[in-house]
């Protein structure tokens, strides 16, 4: 079914879409084209003159070990975040789908973290994991692990992963719960009569039927880990120690705004832009075809 409004004249519809178009242009098209433009320029340190250098900025990037490491780190980070955030959210959603008493309160509480701004979330985790005064760090010390994310890179990496996962669970939870509730009860009952135990029912009926949701969330989570985790990194580790938590978005910021290497930074954002475009295309393509029933 299609819902269509028909306008007689053309100025009204134009007037109605103009604000949207202006926003898109000012906040997306303009900066994106600036980034594209900057990425093929080499600017002197004082920003006085710039020179057209073709794709030199890009080739330089792919020869730069720092950048490749950051790329790797980001890939690992996004897979970890997507995996844990989705796995835990699914587990929680399955449990929430079962309980009858107090379900509303439970669900509401699980959704709260989503309302917390990334920087605030980061600050919270920094306090809890602070090697000297943090409660979590204290617990870890008492079980014999010398937690210190200010010195040890792997601890810092774990910290941003935990913070990023914690924040994304709510979002995934809402989608998984909706997906679970959309599965007709009678299917589960039919499977129970067909001799499938709870675990088998989950893996052969529920999980396959959730796959459109799962796939959608996978893309959303990867995009989240790539881009929306800036605030968390900035508030907790600022990319350190020794770049151990410098993921791609953070590197764009670091190189561009701190290091003032505008060409390299712009080239990095163009690559990120390209990644997000690919992910979006894959998303739309797949959701429309493969995973629907």
């Amino acid at each position: 079914m299609e819902k269509r409004a028909v306008f007689r004249s053309s100025w009204l519809p134009l007037a109605l879409v103009t604000p949207q178009l202006i926003i898109t242009f000012v906040f997306f098209v303009w900066p994106a084209s600036q980034a594209l433009y900057q990425s093929v320029l080499l600017e002197d340190p004082f920003g006085l003159k710039s020179q057209f250098v073709w794709f030199d900025n890009f080739t330089a990037l792919f020869r730069n070990r720092d950048y490749l490491e950051s790329f790797n780190r980001t890939a690992v980070f996004s897979l970890l975040v997507a995996g844990f955030a989705m796995g835990l959210a699914l587990l929680l959603a399955v449990m929430a789908d079962r309980i009858i008493k107090g379900a509303t309160g439970y669900k509401t509480m699980l959704v709260w973290p989503y309302a917390v701004a990334p920087a605030v979330a980061g600050a919270l985790w920094v306090f809890m994991f602070n090697p000297r005064i943090g409660i979590v760090a204290y617990v870890m010390h008492s079980i014999g692990y010398d937690w210190n994310h200010q010195i040890r890179g792997q601890d810092a990496f774990a910290l941003i992963t935990i913070a990023a996962v914690w924040k994304q669970i709510s979002y995934n939870f809402v989608f998984f719960l909706a997906g679970l509730q959309a599965i007709p009860r009678s299917l589960i009952e039919a499977a129970a009569i067909d001799g499938a135990g709870p675990a088998k029912r989950f893996w052969t009926i529920v999980f396959p039927l959730l796959s459109p949701t799962t796939f959608f969330l996978l893309v959303v989570n990867i995009v989240y880990a790539f881009f929306d985790t800036f605030g968390i990194v900035h508030a907790t580790t600022s990319g350190g120690p020794a770049k151990a938590t410098e993921i791609l978005v953070y590197k764009v910021f670091n190189d561009g705004f701190i290091g003032l290497d505008l060409g390299a930074s712009a080239a990095q954002s163009v690559i990120l832009m390209f990644i997000v475009i690919v992910l979006t295309v894959v998303q739309f393509r797949y959701i429309e075809r493969k995973v629907s029933y």
Binding site: S186, L187, I193, D194, G195, A196, G197, T204, P208
Partner: protein, 360 residues
């Protein structure tokens, strides 16, 4: 195959709804039993308790002489056909049918054999590779049946499996289900609120109302000898006429304003003067010739033409009364009509309990 025996089974849902209020029922091995009743009377609840999808609050359920109250659905060895078919949308028709067998570790060649055989029986061989989404309602229905058949269970449970089909297909599937039953001779319990379905399919009809059984009997029994006023009015279309009356002697009842009727009292003694409700089916009355004195008269008010027959609406004892006559009858006009009603077609009900005042 096995029998299903219920003994004083009750169901109270959390929240206090008493859906089934003590039902005892014996479904013998190989019988086709239909649970019939209006919406909300607890038919599905009862069936789901037999399937193990709802817990039994009290009473016992036996399948093949084994108490199954605490047995998981999977271990009850029953198959169920759902109203919405509940086919697994992400599996092919073949996999849908094979799923239950695979879960039970049936060897592959045996699965293949059974699925092919059932598919042939149901004429769905051509769709085995398709997803349920790519099937019509009738074909999905067959797949749902096939999924039940391949399991070769102790008993089949059907919860209104035909109600999502259009009228024509419903008649066709009804006949097919009956044919299948004649062939497989499997114990079947079939839930419906459609009396025609019940009458045509059943060996035994169980009429339910508000969580209780009103009557258990062959289709002809519940039609000819309804045990209660509820059964009498629920079965038959157009519904049985009810008029207030008074017993004026053994096997004789008076309907004020319309005259008297003879009824067959069997061995039942009803005191003279007892107020009763008199039930007569529209199709059980015949119009007497004008000079014949039958003692029972109605005044026609208007007529509905239905094609093969004609419904004449009038009143008896202040209550509306419908008479069904063949369309070939000449127009009866609006003169008072003398009616002939055979004594064994007059039903007399207790005004308070609603029970039929006769035995048999």
């Amino acid at each position: 195959m096995a029998s299903v025996v219920l003994d004083n089974v009750k169901k109270v849902y959390p929240g206090g709804v008493e859906a089934v209020k003590g039902i005892s029922l014996n479904v013998p091995n190989g019988s086709f039993t239909v649970l019939l009743g209006p919406s909300g009377c607890g038919k599905s609840t009862l069936l789901r308790m037999i399937a193990g999808l709802e817990t039994i609050t009290s009473g016992t359920c036996r399948i093949a002489d084994r108490v199954v109250n605490e047995v998981e659905p999977a271990e009850r060895d029953i198959a169920m056909v759902f109203q919405n078919y509940a086919l697994y949308p992400h599996m092919s028709v073949y996999d849908n049918m094979a799923y239950g067998l695979r879960n039970r570790g049936t060897p592959k060649p045996e699965i293949e054999r059974r699925v092919r055989e059932a598919a042939k029986m149901l004429a769905i061989e051509d769709f085995l590779e398709r997803r349920p989404r790519a099937l019509s309602g009738g074909q999905r229905q067959r797949v749902a049946m096939g999924r039940a058949i391949v399991r070769e269970p102790q008993a089949f449970l059907f919860d209104e499996p035909l109600s999502n089909l259009d009228a024509k297909l419903r008649v066709q599937m009804r006949i097919e289900i009956r044919r299948l039953h004649n062939r497989l001779k499997a114990t079947s319990i079939f839930v419906t609120h459609d009396q025609v379905e019940a009458m045509t399919l059943a060996d035994v009809v169980v009429v339910m109302n508000q969580g209780r059984i009103e009557q258990v009997g062959k289709p002809t029994e519940v039609y000819n000898r309804p045990a209660t006023r509820f059964v009498a009015t629920f079965i038959g279309s157009p519904a049985m006429n009810l008029a207030p009356g008074r017993v004026i002697g053994r096997g004789k009842v008076e309907i004020p304003g319309s005259g008297t009727l003879d009824f067959d009292p069997d061995t039942f003694e009803v005191a003279e003067g007892t107020a009763v409700e008199v039930g007569i089916r529209p199709e059980d009355m015949t119009v007497a010739t004008p000079d014949e004195n039958t003692g029972f008269v109605i005044k026609p008010e208007f007529v509905e033409e239905l094609g093969p027959n004609r419904l004449v609406h009038g009143t008896a004892g202040g209550e509306p009364l419908v008479l069904s006559v063949a369309s070939s009858m000449p127009d009866l006009g609006t003169r008072a009509l003398g009616l002939r009603v055979p004594a064994n077609r007059v039903h007399v009900f207790d005004t308070t309990t609603g029970r039929a005042l006769r035995r048999g």
